[in-house]
């Protein structure tokens, strides 16, 4: 075939622009995915630095390194950066962009130029957040929740940060629109809905939440700006407004956003587990539908963030009940993943290690979430470090480890280079242990009554804070090892040309490594489900090639 010349790797493909411009103006979904990867890594590093500094400040009671005002901007920046710039866009924008079209047998997303615009908005929004640090007035000190009235009264650059979040929301919406349309319109012939890989299902559910929920926070954040600039009375109690209504509107988006964050990670885990258990996934339809169920129920439980805010009893009743129900689809997923290991043939490659750690950490995060669904218990633990621990177990132990799993699973495919596996394992153990040492003590001190967002604390909590801070050092060591290993692998790692390095059955493993510019020489015809391991009669693995 003549394809040897025309179908070059997307990394070497020369479009209209060369060099750097060939990347930042490229509409190729794979290049956009890589650009998201680079940008998100930078923002993640910034978020980690702020987190590290917060933990350092909390090493001793009283002032350790910074003033209270600086500390307050730290946790705001840490939250804004991690949530809007890393956890929300992380998996969909990086791996979704790169692999969604490939997984459904398409050459690109439905709207490639919109996709590029979305990346630009993301980078501009991120730059605005970082810029707000340098401007007079200083970065916002409201917490990432921007609760009114404080966010209207503080003298810091709230407008800047809020506007950045608005732009980032727009970027997220465009990605969502793109993915829904892509999945509806560009599936390869024969790829029915139930032949789609589960990562695609989770992206589909995520994309819907992005489209429907994001505009609500868009308008809410815009109203903070309107209120600050024009003094229009909308939420300010001095003008008759209701600060609790702001919280309602904020969480109508921000709770579903939690599922924007976790669903794709669940999708990644659903991809990785069958590959390394070398058998088909258990309960495909249940996992697929539970993604939709999470998206639907997840949109109905927002007010459980406000159980202490003074809602009506009926409101508390309804939201508490719905909150408990949303736990069920997540439980179904966990059970199905576990069952997928049964009678498998498990190889504990690095991606698998991260995926299994995901199940463990996410289970802790989910189960502690269930505790907060119970009204009487929530009243005691809400706004304490128990909550901080809970959502870090979900967002970092869940989504973060999902990202790490995806990196170790797909990076060799994306760049055609294999990382050092020994280093990957040692990074894994540092991350896993460091994570638990960092966040588990927060459950205990939260139950004992340590409120969150505290610059200073009473002496009886010192020991827990110190264990936690030490944990942050272990965790960061793990992050440094992992990112160094992955980065070095791109330059010096062993070259990988085998198409199917892990023995996966989904479409990305049927094409060149790294993928060609057009992904597929011909659009494939799909005849079977995504995880049909060929009876597992012969060993299809090319393991020796990899190691």
């Amino acid at each position: 075939m003549s394809s040897e010349t025309t179908h070059v790797s997307y990394l070497e493909y020369q479009g209209r622009y060369k060099g750097l411009r060939g990347w930042i103006f490229s509409t190729d979904h794979k290049r956009i995915g890589i650009m998201y990867l680079i940008a998100a890594t930078v923002f993640f590093a910034a978020g980690v630095v702020f987190g590290f500094l917060m933990r350092l400040e909390l090493l001793y009671p009283g002032k350790t390194i910074v003033s209270a005002q600086t500390y307050n901007t730290f946790f705001t920046l840490h939250g804004v950066i991690m949530i809007f710039l890393f956890v929300i866009p992380g998996l969909p924008a990086i791996f979704g962009n790169f692999f969604l079209p490939i997984l459904i047998g398409a050459k690109d997303v439905a709207f490639p130029r919109l996709n590029l615009l979305s990346w630009w908005l993301y980078v501009i929004g991120g730059a605005l957040v970082l810029l707000s640090i340098l401007l007079p007035g200083g970065p916002a000190d409201t917490g990432w929740t921007f609760y009114i009235p404080y966010s209207v009264r503080t003298g810091t650059n709230v407008i800047f940060t809020v506007f950045a979040a608005f732009i980032l929301g727009f970027s997220s919406i465009l990605t969502g629109i793109n993915f829904v349309t892509t999945i509806h319109r560009l599936r390869a012939p024969g790829m029915g809905w139930f032949k789609m890989p589960l990562f695609t299902w989770s992206l589909y559910a995520t994309a819907w939440i992005q489209v429907l929920a994001t505009p609500i926070i868009g308008i809410t954040l815009l109203l903070i700006v309107v209120e600050r600039v024009f003094g229009v009375g909308l939420f300010d109690p001095a003008l008759g407004g209701d600060p609790v209504l702001f919280q309602h509107l904020f969480w109508i988006y921000s709770h579903p956003a939690v599922y924007i964050m976790i669903l794709p990670a669940m999708g990644v885990v659903s991809e990785i587990i069958p590959v390394f258990a070398h058998r088909t996934i258990f309960g495909y339809k249940f996992i697929a539908f539970s993604s939709l169920a999470i998206a639907v129920f997840g949109s109905l439980v927002w007010a459980h963030h406000m159980f202490a805010a003074g809602m009506s009893d009926f409101g508390q009743f309804v939201f508490s009940l719905l909150t408990f129900l949303v736990a069920i689809p997540s439980a179904i997923k966990v059970f199905n993943w576990t069952a997928t290991l049964y009678k498998g043939s498990i190889s504990l490659e690095p991606p698998m290690a991260f995926a299994l750690a995901f199940i463990f950490l996410f289970s802790i995060g989910g189960l502690t979430g269930v505790m907060q669904g119970a009204l009487s218990v929530d009243i005691h633990i809400t706004d304490t470090s128990f909550i901080v621990a809970h959502f870090h177990y979900v967002m970092f132990g869940g989504t973060g480890f999902g990202v790490f799993a995806a990196l170790h699973y797909w990076l060799p495919k994306m760049f055609g280079r294999m990382y050092n596996k020994k280093a990957a394992y040692s990074a894994f153990w540092f991350l896993f242990i460091g994570f638990n040492v960092l966040y588990f003590p927060m459950f205990i001190m939260g139950w004992l009554g340590m409120p969150r967002r505290y610059y200073d604390y009473l002496p009886e909590y010192t020991i827990y804070h110190q264990i936690s801070t030490v944990g942050s050092w272990i965790l960061i060591t793990g992050l440094i090892i992992m990112f160094t290993n992955l980065y070095l692998s791109l330059k010096r790692g062993k070259k990988v040309t085998a198409r199917n390095i892990w023995g996966g059955e989904t479409l990305e493993w049927q094409i060149e490594t790294p993928p060609t510019y057009e992904n597929f020489e011909e659009i494939p015809l799909i005849t079977e489900g995504p995880y049909e391991y060929k009876d597992n009669d012969q060993d299809i693995l090319e393991e020796k090639e990899v190691v």
Partner: protein, 95 residues
């Protein structure tokens, strides 16, 4: 492009009929607003508005001739708005 064929039918006449209906509904809603039905005033106003948007959606925006998926989409979006509204009032109407 399965459904494009259907949309390909230009329909000036139908559009004008819908436009007349929309104007008449506007007149009705303004007239009715003058009469005090109590709680029903708001309900009638919103019902008329819903009928008007239904006409715009189905005829001007061709929802009727689009693929089923589009109608499901609209349903999902409306469901999301309505359920959020209901839940919001699960709090506020029991204060």
């Amino acid at each position: 492009m399965e459904s494009s064929e259907l949309i390909h039918r230009p329909q000036y006449g139908k559009y004008i009929l819908v436009w007349i209906a929309l104007l008449m509904l506007t007149v009705i809603t303004v007239t009715v607003a003058g009469i005090n039905f109590g709680v029903l005033t708001l309900a009638t106003a919103l019902t008329v508005a819903s009928v008007k948007s239904y006409l715009v959606l189905t005829v001007f925006m061709h929802l009727k001739t689009e693929q089923t998926a589009f109608r499901i989409f609209v349903g999902v979006a409306l469901f999301f708005i309505i359920i959020s509204f209901v839940l919001l009032f699960a709090d506020y109407s029991f204060m």
